[in-house]
Every structure is written in C-alpha cells, then in structure tokens.
C-alpha cells in the first residue's frame, strides 16, 4: 500500500492529557526559612537558589538593590572577589545572582558531589560580605559604559520607556537607570541595604536535581541559624502616564524602529488572568499566532513579533513588542490594531482554538521536563502566593475556554485607546 502523505497521522489531542505537576518536598530550617526541594534527574547535578525579599521595591535610591546583589560575590572579610570566583569555578560550579522587582536571588548550579564544599562559602556571602569600595568603583565605571552602549539601541530605549509609561517612572516597575544614579552610590548605603535585606533578611530556598542524602541537614547547618527577620512588603503607587502615543528619535542612522504597545492589566489573582493567557497565545504568544502570521509570515515587516502578559507580582501589563523596518513601523501598528479588532468582532473558529489549546497543553508538558524546570514552575507559583491548585486551574481554563469568552475578553482588554503606543527610531 502506498503512503498517502497528504494525510496526517492520527494524534492524541494534547488537550486530553492529564498533566500532573510533580510534587515538591517542603520543610523549614530551624529559623523558619521555607525550603522547597525536588529530587530527580539522571545527571549528578543540582541547583540551590536563595530567594531574598530584597528586590528593587525595597531600595531607597535607584540601583541600590541591584548593586548590592551584584556585589555579593565581590568580597567577604576573608576572601577577595577573585578568590570567591576562583573557588566556585574550580569546582565547576556556577554562582549567579539576579535582582528583580520584589526579590533578588543567589543561585548555585554544580555537581552534587561538591555541594557540601560549596555551601559554607555561600553562607559567607550572605553573612559576611563587605561590598569593597574598589569593587564598587569598577562596577560603576563599567556599568556606565555598558549603559552608554545600550542607549544606542532602540529596543533597549523602548523597553525602558514603555515600562515607565505603564507604571510610572517613580515605581520600581517603571524606574530606569541613569548614569548619575550610578555615581550617587556609596558603600555605606549598600552595606546598610545588605545588612537589612541579606544578612538579616528574609529568604526562602529552592533546591532541585540529584540531592545528596544529607541535604536537609546541610542546609540547616549552614543556613538554619541566619536571622531570617521578616521584612515588611513595601507599597508603591502606580502613576501611569497621561499621554498615550509617543514617537522618539534615538538613532537617526538606524534602519529599524522598536515598537512597543502596552496596556495595564490586573495581577494573577484576577479571574481574567488565566483566560487572557489563552487569548494572548492566539493573539501574539506563539509562532502560529495572529500577529506572527500576518506581520511576519504574510507581510514580512519583521523578524519576529510577540505579545505577552508581564510576569510581575503586584500588577501586570499586556505588551506587544517588535522591531520592524523604519518605513513599515506605522503600517505594523495599524496591523496590530486590525488584529485586535478582529478578535473583538469575530469568533475564533473551533479549528484554530483547538490548535491553540493543544499547543498550550503541549508546551505545559514540555516545560515539566527535568528537575530544574519543575522547581522553576513551583517557584513561580509560590512567589505569587499560589499552590498547585493554580496550575490545575490553568489547565481547566485551557481545556474549557470558548470562542465567546475569548471575544468577550478581547472586547474588554484589546481596545486600541487603552494602549500606550511607542516607536523608537
């Protein structure tokens, strides 16, 4: 029998999968620090992440939180920056730190066999950093230089401005960096921040990979006696911009413009959040989305166009982002609005909706691959104050959402006049 290649092989609809989020172990160190752990994987590797409530929202001056976080690796009372880096790298471990809006982290990835050697030095960074002035001055100089390069890039400039319009330039979500902010930093100020939000700060732990039998005892031994003082969650008010449309010239010789459209959106706890994730996927959230199909695959205006709901704790935003040829930026914006209008006016057909649902379920399944992905998903749930019930609710929403609900959401949220509109050329 000859093969009929026009016929697709039968598939199991991903939407019919019964997905389960593997459970994590959770326990507390003797100082009350919560630990979430997932033991698994074939390779002898593991990760440990320390999540502190020490992000941008806690700073009293711009860059305080990010700089303190950066300098955690740059000196303790007994080790220089070089010695710290040499120590971790010698053991083939990767020690990283990152600063976000609410939280800031230290993360360690390494071979499980070295973990007991490495943990005491991480403890030292948390309990005994010195933020040396020399390290600060090198950092400030180099970051200012990097900023000057980034400011030449239209996409960088656009990314800063749209957040400021959306949340207000005085809100941690919208605040951006100026060279003068770097110059104003002092070691005293950073030490104060460090002392309050790291040495005495409130934190939790996320652990994943091939975990040694004694990992609970190890974590308790090295981190169970830290103060872990509760930190009050700060309140910042949003001051979104009045003006909605902006055209900014940044690089007259450039050949592309950076386009950002964004509107405010409620946080994860709002009942519209999960259904809107489905609408967003259809609109601009994957390769087969309406925006990609029209603006890249039909018009060829851009290499890529994406929309997404911002993953922030206090609020969200609905963002559309692309880089397009200078001569087609305005046409691109008109096409984006056209796609919003179609979603408001027409019902998505069952075929396209079932594709989106299958795609979403398939990618949920793909995202649960391996211990690092699993702990990452749990971390996001926990930081958002959710449990695995939220994960299962997401699945229920994906499976059950109807064309009518999607159109209703589009009518509520995809309205041209609610969007900030920015082109940086």
């Amino acid at each position: 029998m000859s093969l009929d290649r026009t016929q697709s092989p039968p598939i199991v609809d991903a939407v019919d999968f019964e997905l389960t989020l593997p459970t994590v172990e959770s326990f507390s160190l003797r100082n009350g620090v919560p630990v979430y752990a997932f033991n698994g994987g074939a390779e002898e590797v593991m990760s440990v992440e320390w999540v502190f409530w020490s992000g941008n929202s806690y700073e009293s001056a711009n860059l305080e939180a990010a700089t303190a976080n950066f300098l955690l690796r740059n000196g303790t009372s007994t080790r220089t920056a070089f010695q710290i880096n040499e120590f971790f790298e010698y053991h083939g471990a990767f020690l990283q730190r990152s600063c976000f809006n609410e939280t800031a982290t230290i993360s360690l990835h390494g071979l499980s066999k070295h973990i007991d050697t490495l943990l005491p030095v991480v403890r030292e960074l948390i309990a005994d950093s010195t933020m040396p002035a020399e390290e600060l001055s090198i950092y400030v100089q180099n970051m200012k230089q990097r900023l000057s390069v980034n400011l030449k890039k239209c996409d960088f400039v656009a990314g800063r401005l749209i957040d400021a319009y959306l949340f207000g330039a005085d809100h941690p979500y919208g605040r951006y960096t100026k060279a003068a902010d770097f110059d104003a930093l002092t070691t005293e100020q950073l030490m104060r921040f460090y002392d309050r939000y790291y040495r005495n700060g409130e934190f939790m732990l996320f652990v994943a990979g091939k975990l040694p039998a004694n990992f609970r005892e190890s974590l308790d031994k090295h981190f169970g006696d830290l103060p872990n003082r509760k930190v009050d969650r700060p309140v910042h008010l949003f001051h979104p911009a009045e003006q909605k449309k902006y055209r900014i010239e940044n690089d007259p010789t450039g050949v592309q413009g950076a386009i950002r459209l964004a509107r405010s959106f409620p946080d994860r706890s709002h009942p519209d959040f999960q259904p809107s994730m489905v609408l967003n996927t259809l609109f601009g959230g994957f390769f087969g989305s309406r925006l990609m199909s029209n603006i890249r695959e039909d018009k060829g205006y851009t290499y890529g166009i994406h929309s997404y709901l911002m993953n922030l704790l206090q609020a969200s935003g609905w963002m559309i982002s692309t880089e397009a040829g200078k001569d087609v930026c305005e046409a691109t914006i008109q096409e984006i609005y056209k796609e919003m209008r179609i979603l408001r006016e027409e019902l998505v057909d069952d075929d396209e909706l079932s594709l989106v649902k299958n795609y979403l379920m398939g990618s949920l399944l793909g995202d649960l691959d391996g211990p690092f992905h699993i702990i990452g998903r749990w971390k996001n749930l926990i930081l958002n104050g959710c449990t695995d019930a939220y994960f299962y609710q997401t699945i229920r929403v994906i499976k059950s959402i109807t064309p009518e609900q999607l159109r209703e959401l589009a009518q509520r949220y995809l309205q041209e006049q609610d969007f900030y509109e920015l082109v940086v050329t």
């Binding site: 026009t6 920056a81 398939g362 399944l365 793909g366």
Partner: protein
C-alpha cells in the same frame, strides 16, 4: 554514558535512536550536512535563507507549523557556517506527526514565490536587527573578512550583504535543495521513550522511499597559512573604542582542539579568568573582556575582544593583552588551573546532557563529525590534556604571524 542505537536506510539516511523512558516528551532532530561554508561567494546567506523556506510548506503539506502545534509540539532550526539543524519536541504519543512533517520536506518543498518573497524580507529584517541596527553589529563580518582570505568562513551565516538575499531566485532555491537536502546528506536522531524497532519501522515508512540523492562532496578552498600579522582600523558611531584580536586555531577533529578550547576557558571564561582578572579588575583597562571560539568544524578563530575604559588607548590595551599572552607562553598553565578547567568541562557536559533536546542534537553533531559514539568519549579527551600540551598549543596559536587585530574606534565621545 548516553546510550543509542544506529542504523542506515537503503537511501543513505543515517538514523540514531536514543531511548529515555524518564520523559513523556520526544525529540526528532534532522541535521543536514550543509552550512554557510558551502555557499557560492556571490550568493552568501543562502543556507540560512533556505532554512526559513523550509517552514513555507512542503510538497504534500501546505502548512508546516500548524499540524505540529496541533499535536502539541514545538520546533525550531538554526544554521551555522558548518551545518543546518531542525528539531522538534512534542509529546511522545504524537511522535509520528514529526516523522510525517520532516519526511515530507525532505522529499520536496512547495517552492512558492510568495514564501520566497516573504522570507527574503524577514531575513533582511533579521540582518538589520542583528547586524546593522546594533552598535558594533558589523564586527563579525569585518573580523572574518580580515582573518580569512579564501576559506568560506570569510562570511557570516546571515550573508555578506543584504543584496545577496534580495537577489535570491526560486531557481537558486531549487538547485540548493537538490544538491543538499537529500537522505544521503542528512542524519535523523529520535530521542525519548521509544523502542528502536518502532523507530526503524517509522523511519522506513516515512523516509524509506525518498530518493537518496547524490552525496555532496565538499571541496572547499583551504585557508593558506597566515604568514604575517594583519591589522585593520574602523571608525564607527559607537560610544566606546573596542579591541578585537583573533588567531587561527585547530579544526574540530584536529589534534590540539581540546587544548585550545581549554586555553580559551583559562583566559576568558568566568569571573576568575585571567584576562578579566588582570585587564578589568586589576589594571582597569577594559570594561569587559572575553575570549571565545565557535567550535568550527574547519580551522576556526580564537577571539579576544573587549571594550576599553574611556581614556585608555587601543595601543595600550593591545599591549596589555599581549603581555598576558606572553605570560602564558613563558609561564604556561599551573596544574591547578588545568584541574579547574577539567572540572568545569565535566560540569558543563553534565548540565548540557540534562536536556533531551541537547542530547539528540549532540548525537547528530558527533555523527556528522564522524561517529556519534564520540559524544561519550569527548570528556576523556579533555581529561587527557596535560600542562605541556596546553603550552605547546598556546605557542602554536599565539604566534604573531597568526594574529589579526581590529581597532574599532568611536567616532565621537559621549558627553
């Protein structure tokens, strides 16, 4: 140890199966033995443009992405100077959909004018986004053109110029497909909760009747040994002066490759690397400095690059880099440094192998180089490198006559 089985179809397609029953996902990876190095110098960027066209529908399937997304799958592809790779990740229960899609586009593309027209524009926008509209965006092109005189590594995968992409015709596309996209030039890897017998049956079913085509014989012009240092200066509208230096290094399968890779690590990778410590932290000449290579199949380039701290001259910066190299050549590497880079390599490989996709991709790559089994022996090749061998390779690579130096000067000084 990555376990796999191998077989070949009668049309020449090589198939590798890597079973892993810990995951519900499967990966299907097709690697074609064609990259930018196989392009006509007057038609550069073609291998990559072609990769885009592979998503424009095939002879029996008008839409590539849609049925895959419907099966809960995701896919992507990349083109390098050496090869082109396509990969799909999807729920293992729907694996046959991946066979169907990949085999049909190996059989024949739809070759539509519309798809070519749109993808030419998309690739031109990609060119602009990454290489024209970014400060220092043209450095990759400039360095390759300086270091290579004959070998096709002298252009980047995106192409030498926009014009080459704009001028591509459907005739070119068809000829390229016929020459390179056939079973005898491809390697299929399937990874996930699968049995080899099932994969053999599926491979026969979907790929078995595709004509084998003519195995491509690669005859690339060899790059003549460089005999004198080359220097170039560029002025551009960037905020900071930048220094780029590169040296020819051993090919991927040549003796010494692993040692040079380790030297790159010792000089430039991580916050405790020699160049960062000396030039950024101690001497404060650079705001960043990196040392890297691309793992090229043919003789590649080891590159050191960095942006200068304002007020530092390019001459002083270059002299300081040279001093670090001289120190390496005179004092060599310590046993502890060697052990450190071995530990890092062990750890890096373990992390890479966490992902099913990476494992499938690596198996295809090593098979393309000659033998998928090398994936399991690569770490031992690193472990066998000695201190004297590092010094030998350092002396071999860092000869002044092997060096290419680019001064990238800022036209204006920012306020």
């Amino acid at each position: 140890m990555i376990l796999f089985e191998r077989f070949q179809l009668s049309n020449g397609l090589r198939v590798i199966v890597h079973p892993d029953f810990t995951t519900p996902n499967a990966v299907l990876n097709v690697m074609y033995d064609v990259g930018a190095r196989d392009e006509d110098p007057e038609r550069t960027g073609f291998a990559h443009l072609f990769e885009h066209l592979m998503f424009g529908g095939s002879v029996n399937i008008p839409e590539y992405d849609e049925p895959l997304q419907r099966a809960g799958g995701e896919n992507n592809a990349y083109t390098t100077n050496d090869l082109t790779n396509y990969y799909i990740s999807l729920p293992a229960v729907n694996l046959e959909t991946a066979f169907w899609l990949e085999s049909d586009r190996m059989l024949s593309l739809a070759f539509s004018d519309k798809s070519l027209d749109v993808q030419r524009k998309v690739v031109c926008e990609e060119f602009k986004e990454h290489y024209l509209n970014k400060p220092y965006g043209d450095v990759g092109h400039t360095l390759r053109a300086l270091a290579y005189t004959r070998h096709p590594y002298r252009w980047m995968t995106i192409g030498k110029e926009l014009r080459h992409i704009e001028e591509a015709t459907l005739l070119d596309v068809k000829a390229f497909f016929k020459k390179h996209y056939c079973p005898s030039n491809a390697i299929l890897v399937v990874a996930g909760p699968v049995q080899t017998d099932d994969i053999r049956r599926l491979a026969e079913k979907w790929f078995g009747d595709i004509p084998g085509g003519t195995a491509y014989e690669r005859r690339l012009p060899a790059e003549p040994e460089q005999t004198a240092m080359r220097r170039l200066e560029r002025w551009a509208d960037v905020p900071l002066d930048a220094l780029y230096m590169c040296w020819h290094m051993p090919a991927r399968m040549e003796a010494g490759y692993q040692a040079v890779d380790m030297l790159t690590d010792i000089l430039g990778s991580g916050a405790s690397a020699r160049l960062h410590q000396s030039l950024v932290k101690e001497q404060k000449l650079f705001s960043n400095v990196e040392c890297y290579h691309f793992g090229s199949t043919d003789r590649g380039l080891l590159t050191i690059e960095g942006k200068l701290v304002q007020g530092v001259t390019l001459e002083a910066a270059e002299a300081a880099v040279q001093l670090e190299i001289d120190r390496l050549l005179q004092e060599g590497v310590s046993e502890a440094e060697l052990q450190k880079v071995k530990n890092k390599t062990e750890s890096m490989i373990a992390f890479e192998d966490m992902s099913l996709m990476n494992r499938a991709n690596s198996l295809a790559y090593y098979e393309l180089l000659g033998d998928a089994q090398w994936m399991n022996t690569e770490l031992a090749r690193y472990a066998a490198v000695t201190v004297p061998e590092l010094l030998d390779q350092a002396r071999n690579v860092f000869r002044p006559s092997n060096a290419n130096v680019l001064y990238y000067r800022a036209k204006s000084v920012p306020a």
